[in-house]
């Protein structure tokens, strides 16, 4: 089944005529994603990569009925692009952009709540349901359809995890990058809920990192809901010094909040299988799944 994205998803690319957007839209099309249109204000009426370009999302929605939008718009305009998509009725918005001001994200999230749209990101590689569709910048060739759901705050670390899984013959149902920023759309908790209800997904991998409380909230949810599928987690940044931002805007231990140690402890207490060695993410899931099948 996969979650959020499948072979029927109709995808819009906001900022399509930009360099990064063009490159990645091409890769999405090659993968078989149903990219149906693009938006770049001022370039409406043109064709780009064989797709119609519109001035506004509203126009694109009227003409091509996309249900997903991917945002490749520079940081100071990206939050507002998210709001434009929500305003036009797009239900799933995937914001790739890194560097959006925090206050802008607070503004966007409030707006989205009122419109009922879901946001993935920002600062994310995107979403991929292998074999069906990809919206974002991840290298498609390392993925393989299967039953492991992935929820990650990272980019290349996610690819590493996926690569390990695929190498062991463990495909992925959907891999979702929730992004590295302090204020994001869907969080671990939200995606765990979606994976819970997805028949294709048999196990879930969380890839977290220092900063914030998303992993702790996930741990609480897993415990409270008696989560019915096995969950494994790797949390990056055990060696991180406090008070320093490590790359991602959201990856910072602030005072007592956000250390990898705390996150790992809470996850472990909730019955999550902890992965200590990032080179063994794939192997750990394999063991978890084979233990599961032994008990059935």
């Amino acid at each position: 089944m996969s979650i959020l994205l499948d072979e029927n998803s109709r995808v819009l690319v906001q900022g399509i005529t930009g360099k990064q957007a063009s490159f990645h839209t091409q890769r999405m099309l090659e993968y078989g994603t149903k990219v149906v249109a693009g938006v770049t204000p001022g370039k409406g009426g043109q064709q780009h990569l064989g797709l119609p370009v519109f001035n506004t999302v509203e126009q694109a929605v009227k003409a091509e009925a996309p249900d997903v939008s991917s945002i490749f718009v520079p940081p100071l305009a990206a939050a507002e692009a998210v709001m434009e998509a929500a305003s036009a009725g797009i239900k799933l918005i995937v914001c790739i952009t890194e560097g959006i001001p925090v206050l802008d994200m607070l503004r966007a999230k409030k707006f989205l709540k009122e419109k009922g749209s879901l946001l993935v990101g920002p600062n994310t590689p995107g979403i991929i349901s292998p074999g069906k569709s990809k919206v974002g910048i991840m290298p498609a060739h390392i993925h393989q359809p299967g039953s492991v759901g992935i929820i990650s705050r990272s980019g290349t670390l996610t690819y590493e995890a996926v690569y390990q899984l695929t190498s062991l013959g463990l495909g992925q149902s959907t891999a979702v990058g929730i992004g590295g920023d302090p204020i994001v759309g869907l969080k671990f908790v939200d995606l765990l809920e979606l994976f819970k209800n997805d028949p294709q997904t048999e196990a879930v991998v969380l890839i977290g990192e220092i900063g914030g409380t998303a992993e702790e909230e996930a741990a609480e949810y897993i415990k409270q809901s008696n989560y019915p599928k096995p969950v494994a987690a790797y949390v990056a940044g055990l060696t991180a010094p406090p008070g320093k931002r490590l790359g991602h805007a959201g990856a910072i231990i602030e005072g007592r909040l956000g250390s990898a140690t705390d996150k790992l402890q809470r996850l472990q207490e909730s019955g999550v299988q902890i992965i200590h060695n990032p080179a063994r993410i794939g192997r750990t899931i394999k063991e978890v799944l084979s233990n599961l099948s032994q008990h059935l």
Partner: protein, 386 residues
């Protein structure tokens, strides 16, 4: 982006918020001069971008200009090590010298982004001078929070709630409410992440004065506030961090000897972690980024390998957009220039890995190419020990 206390106080003054009378000194003689001018008990405050100054001896009372000069001499030009700075400490080049206040009461006032609740929050604390986390732990009933969103702003009734909670009395409450209004507007207008006045002092003359000020701006918002961006103090950056910044490389020096070079922040953290897992000590965090050019990759390697603290290196590249052959070319170009004697383990996977491997092997340079992540980490740690 953190700014210094003296910079934050200047901004507060511009907003019409009382700050102690004070001046900046960069030499002991100047410190004495300022103390003489202020003609009363003065407080000397080392200007470093870290908390915990008081406990580390970075905040000193002086009763006369001679004491002030002596205290300044002890502080200036030295590194102050606080609970937050780590062993490296931070260099003290400026001291803020202020008239000591006659303190009737100290309270806490802060504004922050509440990540969990996805709102802005104004926090009032009945006790100033303690760290807010400590206060929150010891006396949660002494803290009150009011939440708001950037465009709605903090409502007057919210400011009143906090003022009455603090039991400030009528006149002071009015002033407090005015301060809070100005600060909350300033917070939103400037893309702040954190603003703390701790303590906000009620003086014997019933004045409300910001005895200390901390401001942390959102790095992502700086491009729309060039006048704030110029306040940045990078003097405590290591040489490597300075160099890396020029090439848009994300470099953070820590304390070990095994250098790492990785593409992607999460993978870079994981690489540091796996080094530690196998008993090594990572020297740094280095994310070369998703759009890295050959030149930047080359520079990254050069900065890493020329760092005297680094005695061996692990390069971990998972090529998605980033191509392994591009990074390999950059590393080889750099290695030819600097001829590293230090052992270097290169792990590559993903886009163009075969080409990348070829480039490294054909270079004739003594790189250890290991395709497997775990084996690469083990080898890097083993080599770091020899």
């Amino acid at each position: 982006m953190l700014i210094h206390e003296y910079q934050a106080k200047t901004l507060l003054e511009e907003l019409g918020i009382n700050i102690p009378e004070g001046h900046l000194a960069e030499t002991p003689a100047r410190a004495g001069q300022i103390a003489r001018k202020l003609a009363e008990n003065v407080i000397l405050k080392a200007q470093i971008l870290s908390g915990g100054r008081g406990k580390a001896g970075g905040i000193v009372l002086a009763k006369n200009p001679e004491e002030a000069e002596a205290a300044a001499r002890r502080l200036l030009g030295k590194k102050l090590i606080t609970a937050q700075t780590g062993n490296r400490g931070l260099a003290v080049t400026k001291i803020l010298i202020e008239k000591a206040l006659e303190i009737k009461r100290e309270i806490y006032l802060g504004l922050a982004v509440d990540r969990k609740n996805e709102r802005l929050v104004a926090i009032a604390g009945k006790q100033g001078g303690l760290e807010i986390e400590e206060l929150s732990r010891l006396h949660p009933e002494h803290i009150k929070k009011e939440y708001f969103l950037p465009d709605e702003g903090l409502k007057p009734f919210q400011a009143r709630k906090l003022a009455y909670f603090l039991e400030l009395g009528d006149l002071t409450s009015k002033l407090f409410i005015e301060y809070l209004k100005k600060l909350s507007l300033f917070f939103v207008a400037s893309d702040l992440k954190l603003l703390e006045i701790n303590p906000l002092v009620l003086t014997a003359e019933d004045e409300l004065v910001a005895a200390d000020a901390k401001m942390d701006f959102d790095d992502c918002g700086l491009s729309r506030h060039p006048e704030i961006a110029t306040l940045e103090d990078l003097s405590d950056e290591s040489e490597q961090e300075k160099e890396a910044r020029k090439y848009k490389l994300n470099y953070l020096k820590i304390s070990g000897h095994l250098g790492c070079l990785v593409n992607g922040a999460g993978l870079a953290m994981a690489t540091m972690d796996i080094i530690k897992y196998f008993g090594g000590e990572p020297a740094n965090f280095l994310d070369i980024g998703g759009g890295v050019t050959e030149e930047a990759a080359s520079k990254a390697f050069e900065i890493l390998i020329e760092d005297p603290q680094v005695t061996s290196a692990l390069i971990n590249i998972f090529g998605g957009i980033v191509r392994c052959d591009l990074v390999a070319k950059g590393i080889v170009a750099s290695a030819r220039k600097v001829s590293p004697k230090k052992p270097v383990v290169v792990r590559m996977e993903g886009t163009n890995v075969a080409e990348g491997k070829k480039i490294l092997e054909e270079s004739g340079l003594p790189f250890h190419f290991v395709n497997n992540f775990e084996e690469a980490a083990r080898l890097a740690v083993a080599l770091s020990r020899t």
